[in-house]
Symmetry: C2
Subunit: 135 residues, 2 copies
Amino acid sequence: MAEDKNALFPIGEKAPADYFVGKVMVKNLVPADDILNTVIGNVVFEAGARNNWHRHPGGQILIATAGTGYYQEKGKPVHLLHKGDVVSILPDIVHWHGASRDSAFTHIAINPNTQKGVVEWLERVTDEEYLGAYP
Amino acid sequence: MAEDKNALFPIGEKAPADYFVGKVMVKNLVPADDILNTVIGNVVFEAGARNNWHRHPGGQILIATAGTGYYQEKGKPVHLLHKGDVVSILPDIVHWHGASRDSAFTHIAINPNTQKGVVEWLERVTDEEYLGAYP
């Protein structure tokens, strides 16, 4: 994945394969603490890449900044995400996000209320789930 | 202030003159609630524009996305901000932010822990303070 010269942030480090499918790069922007209670990272997914199903005890906010992405809550239709889209995810809602099949995708991930926990990772989003997510 | 076609977000509404000097536009991205406890807005300052001195009971995080800005905590030197810079501001630290003298400036403003309050506005940043802020 070539570094985008127009990107807001440096590309960061490869996300752990245990929790992601495909190549995903994460740049930490705000680390965990017990004062701001907010962890923020910039995430770049190559086309086809996504995270596992997961939930956040304190909720999450995604800000899409480049490319085309998918966002899906368990049992609901997938949503397409484009630059400037903002998704507010309530606590404990099981969901996944990632790039579309044909385009890379970048979002800022804001995890508030980290005194309640940051993330609980669940099962992988299978190819069948991913390819069936968007008609 | 012409709308920037490369901007991440729509330009929003004019910020209240009681708390800002110069032309400042705010687009609300995440409204106040008692679940995510996080208010997020995109703020565009024209050159020379800035907010009043203020403090956040729950702290604040700024993500600079375009232009050149200033950030100053009371009694400390001003910091220049450029695209990709992230500023973590601790609760109750008195500070101001805005554009530089010669360039507009855009940042995303993230206000976490809003169960403690969002903002307490204080006095204006005078022209003397502003013009003296950066040598």
